[in-house]
Symmetry: D2
Subunit: 368 residues, 4 copies
């Protein structure tokens, strides 16, 4: 398949451009009999929706999703589920002046090099608007997880770093995440970030971020060695999100500096069987889930659209300075939180079905 | 396809276990007419081969590769290329005592959970021995790149951090990489690492590492948005290597702490057209190669097999302490260097063919 | 990918049910720069559209197609092309009485067995209404063929047998095909078929048919041995059309009764190089196109929906007789003609891009 | 994946040329815990092995198979299974004189056109020798079917037509199939065919054939609409066998001449639930298995290698006559019987796992 599909057994394909008529996706491989209605999807789209605080783009999009197929009398039928959202706010004129110029950090140059032409309206296909459909597909994946597994899987995300400012993990509170405009799990950090990001925004700059996503309740046994490992697929899924430049699992890059004895996740017998005494490996060993929480982080670069002039060239080879006006997120990492959650849910759902194909069970073949 | 294949258009499938009769791979999608002989592959295998210094496992394997199909009269025929290496040194008894025990940090527990049984001989399929076949397939990929592109692509790698010890980038010298047992580009750092790793080895511990891989000469235009981006596929490729816990492209995680203006790769007109003034994005914008060097780093956790006792449990639920005797690399990151190079070459080759499929040219459709 | 996608490099995914809100497809892998507008697609949909004669279902559907993505300023951008047609005439009540009954020859029983539930409205996903989207995708494939190849490829189809009545090949006239309601290339046969099918229709019965599809101008060299042969992919493509029970290439089943010397396509030198003196192999040798016309035929069973009572059972296990009222084609083979053409065009387009990926040219590497 | 792999979830990839060092395959997606040893595979290879009667090629090949990976202590481990057979009898000189000539009916011309070069030794990759590995992979598929399903699936094949001579179905006896050199289920027909084929052989000609394959015990519910239907995948699988020119399911082409009422498979309640009163549809409705026997037939063209001179041209454009000496099957359809069986078993195994992925059960979700 060309590059607009993801997944092997539970899959989705997205389509649409930032300023086209609509964006949509087709989710396929969905088990039959899963209760699914538009609000199940809408509630996740609403978390990603723009224009909800002064820290995100002011583009007005209701992002109302429609289910066009694959659901009958309230449940999935096993046939492909088509989802669609019409683009409401297509102010193409905002982008008029940079039609001929390569915006630094954007995909303008590479799309034009690759294809020989490009849809310049709002970045066309390279716009992060596409990620709305990931969130929609991820909502379907969550329903599938709930449907198949007896114990629920919780898939959550949070912003753990904004620009150079991290959080205090001792203050981590999942309830805080939806209580501030940053999906920040640390209330104090969120307050500081507000000031910081106001400053960034006012001087026309932008900030990077780090997002952490966590899935609890993932059964052991998911992941297909040696290439379609759970962590490898997750790395691809997260790196495919716009502006992401790094992905790590568990201790990630910090593991490189540790010793074998410190990095080992030791085991002891607990009440319900073997227990790990730590989770340095982020819930994945040898590419297969261990039953511990799956923990990943990804780095989002600062928004490339800024008001501070940057040097560039035009398509016809003239040197110029670029100032990207219009409506932009000062920190695209914020709205990447629900997108990262969605990708994690989608990867788990795919591997759940793959494990079921090969072994007949959606989890471990053997428990201890 | 199940999880033992990689690539979409230029693909390979590996098979084999650490202590089975042989390991092998099938490389498919290779263009016809590429000059290929066993020495082209052997020279790369020799760089990864164990037992070449006191810093790698003493397992004795000649790793002699045979081409079994797909080559006729010295050139590829366009049909699948089967490669095979027989396992010489299968000292299974080394592993006898841990047959029933989960080695912390290893895949013993997850393989057994996933499949209900496992080949315990040297880790079976989860052993890094499988990566020899990645290097072999990567050697074929390199030949394909040379065959298709007029300007050569250079794909190289180096160890840039061992344990907590980094390098001085000002001293980077590619010629040093093959002149020390660590693939270290900084001669002074290599000297320090020798002492450091001797200490690690002697106390029965192990060290993590960070590997950097760089491809120069990659034409602009490679990468398939929005999921099969060049960087997303590369993230998967590198994360799929044994013991890897993190991947980053260009500035990677450091980008999260910077500002939009600092992270932007500005452009100016050079002698041959537009030029980037920096490469913070690591040669990939919007998932598509920009023509700049593709730069990625990956973090390798410390070897899990150590002589320092770690707590664990047995398959039958008894608590125990594990000491992994036998022949192990004190720093598996070292031999991951040629593997990382191979994965980078393989990803580029795959995308080169994909670009050619869609646009008819193995590079940019439009140049400036 | 699950089962609703076709193709490897040039691909499409369809979605939608007979009586859902809409049907649609996503075509991916389309080269950039191909001129494409809705009328290019509509003209092919119009040939398949129901209600155009008394020999097809009277369901009223304008089948108006919309392009929702992937086209900018009149040309394709290389990103996925979403096509959609809203369902206008959803008279679900027609089907009300057979909700609980398995219609003989239909997929009611197997869908319910497979999924545990089914969308009974007009057959849901199993309805031949889905084939409209194949025709739409096929229209895009035709444009791609025209775009890539210098010499045009002609992809045409005709009905060569209705019920037990064949044609006289000596009277074959392509101009006749669109001049009668049967896509019949033999004017006399068409006249006889009109009487025959009137009789079938009036007694509430239905008729089978054989469709022949022919692609002229296909370059030599297309097809990927040994599994994704051109003829193997074509067999799958045609067998996947609703009600198709047989596929043959070239002489097909008749070849089994011939001798090696009679079946051989001998060669001689012609003005432009080697020429075949016959085309018993239907333009495919060893799974690869030979440059001769690609010729395939497929058998369509008689419409299962008939007014003559047939014995069946209900979902709750009661025996009953089924009479399928409503609006049905007395010979579904007729409208299968444009569908077969579309599948042929789609298979060729996919293999054209695959050949380009591996060899760099959309045709033979070597000509004689 | 390129064209040398088959299957989506249960897959295999073959490699090797007629006169290369060896041929082999990698079977992936195999469930863990399946008892598997070399004799399980060898017994099927022996049925296809050449040189067993005067009616097959006299090439001497023991076709001894080795399992190189994926099996430990007598059972599959869930990792890829590599199988290999060394080529013993590589009398390349037999083919020396036709190196420069296109043998009519063979793939010489198309391989050379496609790739620009070809391995002329015994047809290279285009040789039917590759089908030995299909039989080997099919043997693994059979073991998987036995492992997963409680009731055994029987997958058998027979030759039902040789040249123009069919069988009397009233005399069908499965026990006869392995009792004559033709896999013929009709003892009388087999006797007649012996005389017929002796005549064909003596005059240097060859004969076509029709093979029927039947799978009994296939659970209802297998097949993925709308493209990866069970019958569509089977059509591809069978058409991909060397020399096959037609495939039909159930009544196949004969269905085109019947009426809807005659072709309908009516249903009644039997002792164990709904029963079909006929099997015109060959066990597949709407692309999904119905629980009835899956019945397919395929047409094999006469062997192209014959002693009767045929007109052709050389690679350099000279006209010539071709006589193909060497060791050839006078009717390649005979040895296609075990190959057809293998492909049927492989398709069923793949769909069994796919059904299990999506619905959690390897068969119908709902029974009646």
């Amino acid at each position: 398949m060309p590059g607009n599909s993801f997944g092997q057994t539970f899959t989705f394909t997205t389509w649409g451009e930032s300023h086209g008529a609509a964006i949509g996706c087709v989710v396929d491989g969905v088990p039959p009999g899963v209760a699914l209605a538009e609000p199940d999807i809408q509630k996740h789209l609403d978390r990603r929706r723009p224009g909800q605080s002064r820290y995100t783009t002011q583009r007005q999009e209701a992002d109302t999703v429609r289910i066009l197929s694959g659901v009958f009398e309230g449940v999935t039928t096993g046939t492909p589920i088509a989802l669609m959202t019409e683009n409401a706010d297509q102010r193409s004129k905002d982008y008029g002046e940079i039609v001929q110029t390569f915006r630094p950090g954007h995909a303008d140059y590479t799309y034009l090099a690759k294809y020989g032409l490009r849809d310049h309206r709002g970045g066309g296909r390279s716009s992060a608007r596409e990620t709305a459909m990931r969130v929609a597909a991820g909502a379907v994946a969550r329903k599938v997880l709930d449907h198949i597994l007896t114990a629920p899987v919780s898939v959550r995300g949070a912003l753990v770093q904004m620009g150079p400012h991290g959080i205090d993990r001792a203050r981590w509170d999942w309830d805080e995440v939806d209580a501030n405009p940053f999906f920040c799990p640390d209330r104090e950090a969120a307050r500081e970030w507000a000031d910081y990001l106001d400053g960034v925004r006012k001087r026309g700059s932008s900030a990077g971020a780090v997002v952490e996503v966590v899935a609890e309740g993932v059964p052991a046994g998911l992941g297909e060695p040696v290439y379609d490992r759970l962590d490898a697929d997750l790395a691809k899924a997260l790196m495919s999100i716009n502006a992401v430049k790094g992905v790590e699992i568990g201790n990630g890059f910090a593991a490189a500096a540790t010793s074998g004895e410190d990095n080992a996740d030791e085991m002891r017998m607990g009440a319900d069987g073997p227990e790990f005494l730590s989770n340095n490996n982020g819930g994945v060993l040898g590419g297969i889930s261990s039953g511990q929480p799956v923990v990943a982080r990804f780095a989002v670069k600062p928004t490339s659209s800024i008001l501070i002039p940057r040097r560039s060239v035009t398509q016809s080879g003239e040197e110029t300075d670029v100032v990207t006006k219009g409506r932009h997120d000062p920190c695209v990492g914020i709205r990447a939180v629900p997108v990262g959650e969605a990708m994690l849910a989608l990867v788990i759902a795919d591997h759940l079905l793959r494990q079921r194909a090969q072994t007949g069970t959606a989890g471990p073949v053997r428990t201890f």
